[in-house]
């Protein structure tokens, strides 16, 4: 029986027969249905996904007409910091526009959290203003809410991750509410400076990383920002496929945030005024690429069916079905991109 080259969720090479691939695809779909109560992929979608997984080419591409936009988070971290290329952030933006042909790009600080940007926010806005003179593609300013930074000893609030195991539920909830309010104020201040510097938009990345209070701060900031600067675009990328209920009772516009999956997250984002939503589906490194990709596509397809705003799927190391490895193999990234756009009907990545 023919075997097909594929990978495990940690990137390790794996050869699977068609039956093994299909069994993993069906199990991945089933996991999304069971955990997230997602609508399963239909037979045609599964057949299409199997075709993508079995393609003999090393790298694959989307069919004509299915192209989506290619965006970046942690934008200017990638060349000068992570890859240690000695170029400025301004030059990084130009490289992305003129050489890598990115559709959008993001200016960001090395410490990628809004709280850490506060002390240099005016200088970051100056950098944005200069960048906008030279750039044609949309340039965003991005950072994470990262609510955990507001806990002691870095911040003023008690750490809810320590309070909860002690049974101090009320104290943990109060700490999160206080931190979310302070985070909201910081994000609105920084985002406003960026909007006034001519940023095309603000990117709230990894929203919900510290749970529902983290997401609430990002949604509240979006709403306030859009009221102040209606022409400034907001993109919001999630931290994971399931909003953690570290608080558990927080609501935005009457909707409880804890426990939301992509189909519900996108609707809360739209309600806040978010212009583009970034879906995140985490990779299970102990399962195969086929399992992870099928699970991701199931969540994304359901999300794009209900979305009123563009859905850009986070597709990188450890998310969007892509293996959890520092250097993502292109056989996996291109297959994931194709499946997320053609079957998941995503607007971009």
């Amino acid at each position: 029986m023919a075997e097909y080259f594929t990978r495990m969720g940690d990137g390790e090479a794996l050869w699977q027969s068609e039956d093994e691939l299909r069994a993993d695809v069906e199990a991945g779909v089933e996991d999304a249905v069971k955990r997230g109560k997602a609508k399963p992929l239909d037979d045609a979608d599964i057949a299409h996904l199997m075709d993508i997984l079995k393609m003999p080419e090393k790298n694959v591409s989307v069919e004509r007409g299915c192209e989506g936009i290619h965006t970046f988070d942690a934008g200017t971290l990638k060349l000068p910091i992570r890859s240690a290329v000695p170029v400025s952030r301004h030059v990084t933006l130009l490289i992305h526009e003129r050489i890598l042909c990115s559709d959008t790009m993001e200016l960001c600080n090395t410490d990628y959290s809004f709280k850490m940007v506060k002390n240099c926010a005016p200088e970051e806005a100056m950098q944005m203003e200069q960048a906008q003179q030279d750039m044609i593609m949309p340039v965003f300013y991005g950072a994470m809410p990262n609510l955990g930074l507001y806990t002691k000893p870095d911040g003023q609030f008690d750490n809810w991750a320590e309070l909860l195991p002690q049974g101090k539920i009320k104290e943990a909830m109060d700490a999160q509410e206080g931190a979310a309010e302070q985070c909201y104020e910081d994000m609105l201040y920084i985002s406003s400076l960026q909007a006034e510097a001519g940023a095309c938009g603000i990117q709230f990345d990894t929203a919900g990383a510290s749970g529902d209070a983290d997401l609430l701060a990002a949604l509240k900031t979006t709403k306030a920002l859009k009221e102040k600067y209606p022409d400034t675009c907001v993109t919001m990328g999630m931290a994971n496929e399931f909003t953690l209920g570290m608080h558990g009772k927080l609501e935005f516009e009457g909707d409880k945030l804890a426990g939301k999956y992509p189909r519900d997250q996108v609707q809360s984002c739209a309600k806040a005024g978010v212009d583009m939503y970034g879906a995140v589906i985490n990779t299970n490194s102990s399962r195969s690429f086929a399992w992870n990709l099928a699970r991701s596509v199931t969540y994304v397809k359901e999300c794009t069916e209900v979305a009123t705003i563009p859905v850009l799927v986070n597709a990188g190391m450890g998310v969007g079905g892509i293996p959890l490895s520092a250097v993502a193999p292109t056989d996996a990234t291109t297959r994931a991109s194709k499946a997320l756009l053609e079957i998941g009907k995503a607007d971009g990545l």
């Binding site: 004509r64 007409g65 192209e67 989506g68 936009i69 003129r98 050489i99 042909c101 959008t104 203003e129 906008q132 003179q133 030279d134 750039m135 044609i136 949309p138 909007a195 006034e196 510097a197 001519g198 940023a199 095309c200 938009g201 600067y229 022409d231 400034t232 675009c233 212009d275 583009m276 979305a307 705003i309 563009p310 607007d347 971009g348």
Partner: protein, 82 residues
């Protein structure tokens, strides 16, 4: 898509209509080079006297009938509508 919150299909059609081309042409790099050069919207390769950066964006904002925040800021600094 960024400035009007459109889904990808709607955004492609909007841009194609404004450029008077087919949606198919938007992902044909040879065709788009011709269109961008003829409208002076900026291209990947720089050319003598061609627009890039802010000057290209001003033209894009007019052509696509969108408000680009940095263009609006630039106009405000000049103190006159462009």
């Amino acid at each position: 898509m960024v400035m009007k919150g459109m889904r990808i299909g709607e955004a492609k059609k909007y841009v194609a209509d404004k450029l008077h081309c087919d949606v198919f042409d938007l992902t044909d790099s040879a065709k788009m080079k011709e269109i961008r050069e003829s409208l002076d919207l900026g291209t990947v390769n720089d050319r003598p006297h061609a627009s890039y950066g802010m000057s290209a964006k001003i033209k894009i904002a007019e052509l696509l009938d969108i408000k680009i925040p940095s263009v609006e800021l630039f106009k405000k600094k000049l103190g006159a509508a462009l």
